[in-house]
């Protein structure tokens, strides 16, 4: 990755404060970070450090109390909530530690959800979802109930769901946190393969040092601030 690569998300002096007055709690203070196309970033920190809050702000799920955030060169503060929702739907994919799968629906229905939200036709989204399930080696489980799968299979379904709308960036919050190390490794490999083969940018929140080390960059968050200077690795 070289300096000229396009900046997808730029955060400048972002702060996030919860509550008011004496009860105010500052989760993030003056954080600046750019997310460039094709790179992999690990946001590392202890629980309560503010790393999840940073990811939520970068992913447009939350708005900063202070600071400027721009996505594709456009200011997030200028966009309506409807525009933000559309942007999330079309350019972001999400992978969560706790999966958030609808256990009573089929694997296929779970994977199709972002496309259904996007308003894609039934036949088209089914076809697209099956393609993606193929990529994560779960095509044979398409009709199974999501609740009946193993942890590793569930996380692969979640990755398929994140991939289905062909995103530019995948935000992964502790993607291997609920998995044993062998399955965790498989899921990691899958994510990094998406980065290397398809150029999908990864923003991974983790406290797993091994996972963080595989990323181009590590951003260490401590008490709501970036703890060490950002180390850039060229590939």
């Amino acid at each position: 990755m070289h300096q000229a690569s396009r900046t997808l998300i730029q955060a400048d002096h972002i702060s996030k404060t919860y509550g008011r007055g004496t009860n105010a709690f500052t989760a993030l203070s003056e954080v600046s970070l750019g997310v460039h196309e094709g790179e992999t970033i690990a946001i590392v920190g202890k629980s309560g450090s503010g790393k999840s809050t940073l990811m939520h702000i970068l992913a447009l799920l939350d708005s900063p109390t202070a600071g400027v955030l721009s996505v594709n060169g456009k200011l997030a503060s200028d966009m309506s909530s409807r525009d933000l929702a559309r942007l999330r739907n079309q350019t972001f994919g999400f992978v969560f530690q706790q999966f958030f799968l609808n256990a009573s629906s089929s694997v296929l229905d779970n994977v199709m959800l972002p496309l259904k939200i996007a308003g894609m036709g039934r036949r088209q989204r089914k076809q697209r979802a099956l393609e993606v399930l193929e990529q994560v080696d779960l095509a044979d489980k398409a009709k199974a109930n999501a609740g009946d799968l193993s942890g590793g299979q569930k996380q692969r379904v979640v990755i398929a769901r994140a991939l289905v709308n062909d995103p530019k960036i995948i935000f992964a919050d502790e993607p291997t946190g609920n998995l044993d190390s062998a399955t965790g490794q498989l899921v990691e490999n899958l994510l990094f393969r998406l980065n290397s083969e398809r150029g999908i940018t990864l923003v991974i929140v983790t406290h797993d040092a091994d996972l963080a080390r595989r990323c181009n960059r590590q951003v260490f968050i401590k008490d709501g601030q970036i703890a060490t200077p950002v180390r850039r690795v060229t590939i």
Partner: protein, 432 residues
């Protein structure tokens, strides 16, 4: 998300928690079921009245009576003063009620009103008995058949005022009692009517029976005669009575000009009112009965609506629980780009779907029950009343019930749906 996808997703979500959904639907079902039965009852009765009396109807006949100014008054009104210009009569049989009378001079005034074609005094003879081949003397209710009045006949025809020959029609249960083998055998036979004249002598008149009327709760025991027969009976009855008796009468019938518009009819009634008389069409008279029935039905419907309102709170409760349970799912959908408006719709539709199933099943079950009740009653209790269907349902009467309940469900769903749409995706997804 497309509208179709929202509806189908809402439909799937509705049945995710089956027991809770079924109980909520059951509450709506009870309300819709009751409302359908009570409106069906109202419809059935008013259909029956229309069938039996509506045909009486000739819109162009007006009954004219003096505006009653009698001893009865509201407790707050002062007693009224006696008006010597108004002839009154004391009727003992009606609890010593004083009723005003009219004379031929009044009829002349009526004839001058624009819109009135002709006016005749409605003279009524008081019948003592009716008797047939077996000479049994039976009491009955003698009535003049008004122009345009119609009754369903079992056999034969109705008497007609176009004929100068006296004619009568007996109710079906009189045929055998009078000594005929069956209703058919009584047609075109002479039947005797007995009365008392002004001198106190018993007199009789034989009249040809032209038909037998069907049984009905509203006209049971009514013997109808045409104008020619009534004229003869009145003449007979007034023999030996003072002149005053034949000079005064209580009611006149006016025939209105044909195709009279409703506004004109109102004008005719207003003109009569100025002269001190009330004009009433048969429709007006039925209207009074219907108002009473509609009042009763409205109260019954009120109870059903209370049940539905209670069911509405059931919907609110059910959906609030759903929103609570699906917090994470709502957060996920929002994170994936579903906007608040669509989340609102998703939960609103869930409420509407609950409303639809509850009311649809309730209405269907009520209609089936109604048909069952109709069958049982028509073959049992109401066997003799041909044409009475106690419960009547039409698509136009039940479809609005489903629509109203769905509207109510939508209203009930707004609170939970707003709550869902306002949820913050971060709070919904946060885990620690």
């Amino acid at each position: 998300m497309k509208l179709f996808d929202i509806i189908s997703t809402a439909s799937t979500n509705t049945f995710r928690s089956k027991l809770r959904t079924i109980l909520t639907i059951l509450a709506i079902f009870i309300g819709a079921f009751t409302l359908t039965l009570t409106t069906g009852l109202g419809k059935g009765i008013s259909h029956y009245i229309d069938d039996q009396l509506g045909s009486l109807g000739a819109e162009d006949v007006l009954l004219i009576m003096p505006t009653t100014d009698n001893g009865f008054s509201s407790p707050n009104d002062p007693p009224k003063t006696y008006d010597a210009t108004k002839k009154t009569q004391n009727i003992e049989s009606e609890g010593n009620r004083t009723i005003a009378l009219m004379t031929e001079a009044d009829l002349e005034k009526f004839r001058k009103i624009d819109g009135i074609e002709s006016v005749t005094a409605y003279r009524q003879a008081a019948m003592d008995y009716v008797s047939g081949p077996n000479n049994q003397k039976l009491v009955g209710n003698l009535n003049l058949l008004l122009d345009g009045e119609k009754h369903a006949t079992e056999v034969g025809q109705m008497p007609t005022n176009d004929s100068d020959v006296p004619q009568m029609m007996i109710p079906s249960n009189y045929a055998k009692a009078l000594g005929f083998t069956d209703a058919g055998a009584s047609v075109n036979q002479q039947i005797t009517i007995g009365l008392t004249n002004g001198r106190g002598d018993a007199v009789t008149l034989a009249i040809a029976n032209v038909g037998v009327s069907q049984k009905s709760i509203l006209t049971s025991g009514f013997i109808y005669v045409n104008q020619a027969a009534m004229n003869k009976l009145v003449t007979l009855q007034n023999q030996g009575a003072p002149d005053s008796v034949s000079k005064y009468f209580q009611v006149a019938t006016a025939r209105l000009k044909s195709e009279l518009p409703a506004s004109k009819l109102t004008q005719v009634k207003a003109d009569l009112k100025k002269l001190g008389f009330d004009g009433m069409t048969v429709q007006d008279q039925i209207g009074v009965i219907k108002t009473v029935i509609n009042g009763i039905i409205a109260v019954l419907n009120g109870f059903a609506i209370i049940a539905l309102l209670a069911a509405g709170f059931g919907i609110i409760n059910t959906l609030l629980m759903s929103v609570q349970e699906r917090t994470k799912e709502i957060g996920l959908m929002k994170a994936m780009g579903m906007n608040s408006g669509k989340i609102f719709l998703l939960f609103s539709f869930e409420a509407v779907i609950l409303g639809f199933w509850g009311s649809f099943l309730g209405v269907m079950f009520a209609v089936a029950t109604g048909f069952g009740i109709n069958q049982i009653l028509m073959n049992g209790l109401l066997k003799d009343l041909s044409g009475l269907q106690p419960l009547s349902f039409t698509l136009q009467s039940v479809a609005p019930i489903v629509a109203i309940v769905m509207g109510l469900a939508f209203a009930a769903g707004t609170l939970p749906a707003i709550r869902a749409s306002r949820q913050d995706p971060i709070n919904s997804l946060r885990y620690e």
